[in-house]
């Protein structure tokens, strides 16, 4: 087991990964290398395997066959990786309580937690809401708190599963700005979305998934200006992929 905190989890390499649940194939023969740089964005219709791919990259789902490695290591505890789920669950505590919990789980010494928690609050623009019960926040605020909680781990890698799926445009803009600044600070962001506009605004490279397989992988400009596959052309044209 790799316990060296400073070793990099990058690149994440999937080689011929299959993931099944209950005899149902979710991902098929996925080979993918995720390296440093601008955000990698997974797009594709619902049920195409984006979430499972994110969870596998985080290390929460094990491959049924094939291999996933983080910086060449087969097993890597998620010390410097963090994930924000599509519907993040707020602990039944205050906003600050949630941050303290995440900081404690990341083994931040007790005396530093309050200072770090306040920094995180201001980073995600939730100052003044520290004492509010987390589950009473709006969904945009909960999403921002979830990102703050993920950042409490000082991740090198941040996975985001449809972070703006149920948010209004103003809240979406806030999240996108946050993602951009996190990415600019050197954190590798890997994100799933089915919002093409968002993918175009944030991505460095795009991975298009369809029925559990990767149909196209390209740099963002190339993907949007000259999609190579029939599926990508159809998806960009707004046709429904089944």
């Amino acid at each position: 087991m790799n316990t060296n905190v400073d070793s990099s989890d990058l690149p994440i390499e999937f080689s011929k990964v299959n993931i099944d649940t209950d005899n149902h194939a979710i991902l098929r023969q996925v080979s993918l290398v995720i390296g440093a740089g601008a955000p990698t964005v997974f797009i594709g219709p619902n049920g195409s395997g984006k979430t499972t791919l994110l969870r596998a990259a985080m290390g929460l789902v094990t491959a049924s066959s094939g291999q996933i490695t983080w910086g060449q290591a087969i097993e890597s505890p998620p010390l410097r990786r963090a994930i924000v789920f599509q519907r993040p669950v707020m602990l039944r505590r205050s906003v600050l309580g949630n941050l303290h919990y995440a900081l404690a789980s990341a083994e931040v010494p007790r005396r530093e937690r309050q200072r770090r928690a306040m920094e995180l609050l201001s980073l995600v623009d939730l100052e003044g809401l520290g004492d509010r019960p987390a589950r009473r926040l709006s969904s945009g605020e909960q999403q921002r708190l979830a990102i703050a909680r993920a950042l409490a781990r000082k991740p090198r890698l941040l996975f985001l599963d449809e972070p703006t799926a149920s948010l209004d445009p103003a809240a979406t803009k806030g999240i996108e700005e946050l993602v951009r600044s996190v990415s600019a600070s050197g954190v590798k962001v890997v994100m799933a979305t089915h919002d093409l506009g968002e993918a175009r605004r944030l991505a460095g490279d795009i991975v298009l998934l369809h029925r559990g397989t990767i149909v196209e992988r390209a740099a963002v400009d190339q993907f949007f200006s000259a999609p190579a596959t029939k599926e990508a052309q159809a998806f960009l044209a707004g046709e429904l992929l089944f």
Binding site: P88, L91, A102, S105, R135
Partner: protein, 230 residues
């Protein structure tokens, strides 16, 4: 205590007999509910968080035991504690301790089943975040217990309410001995059959008051839980 006094009079004059009965009732039922929590909460949490063969069976039995008839528990405890029973040498039959034992048995399944449900629901909700934050087993359990605290206190109150209201078990194992094992429920049963209605009504009013208070407390806690913990 003269038989012709009214229930009101007994209450207003803080009649010592009345209050010793109320005091014993509370002491027995509170002790039983607390003991049952010590047994039932870890048991419920354990069943909620582990997977083993026959788990569904255990859950079904636990839920069924919530409706355990008090007289059956009383009879079983009576047989165990009676002179010729396996635990007869303890000499506990017809003592408050025997009543605590019977009520603990009665209430443990209620607290265990409610705890199991609370912890399992929370676990299903939290498990992804636990995995993402790499939380260890002990920390997971303490988080679930803490975040479920309002529901767990409600479970304890439900157990107490059940214990305070039952008569079947304690009348068998306690024997309703005046000044020693007489509680509100056993006294109401006795005084009613004797025709001493003022005392029965006085005790009934107090018992109802306690039941209303406890359920009000449970409701208030739930509200507080929603407000402070969401």
């Amino acid at each position: 205590m003269p038989d012709n006094t009214s229930a009101f009079h007994l209450l207003l004059t803080a009649d010592p007999t009345l209050f010793s009965i109320v005091g014993l009732s509370l002491a027995v039922s509170v002790t039983a509910a607390v003991l049952a929590s010590f047994i039932g909460m870890p048991l419920g949490a354990l069943v909620a968080l582990t997977r083993f063969r026959g788990r569904v069976f255990v859950i079904v039995v636990m839920n069924a035991l919530m409706g355990l008839p008090p007289v059956i528990v009383g009879l079983a405890v009576y047989l165990s504690l009676s002179r010729s029973g396996p635990l007869g040498s303890w000499g506990l039959l017809f003592t408050p301790s025997a009543m605590v034992i019977a009520q603990t048995i009665l209430v443990t399944p209620i607290i265990a089943a409610l705890t199991r449900q609370t912890i399992e629901d929370l676990w299903l909700e939290y498990r992804d975040e636990f995995a993402a934050m790499d939380i260890g087993a002990l920390q997971r359990i303490s988080t679930l217990l803490w975040d479920g605290r309002f529901s767990l206190v409600t479970a304890l109150l439900a157990g107490f309410g059940r214990a305070a209201a039952e008569v079947g078990a304690i009348i068998i194992v306690g024997g309703n001995i005046e000044g020693f094992t007489r509680t509100m429920t056993t006294a109401i049963a006795l005084e009613t059959s004797k025709g001493n209605l003022p005392l029965a009504v006085g005790l009934g009013v107090i018992l109802m008051g306690i039941v209303v208070l406890v359920s009000g407390l449970a409701w208030g806690l739930r509200r507080a839980g929603e407000r402070f913990a969401g």
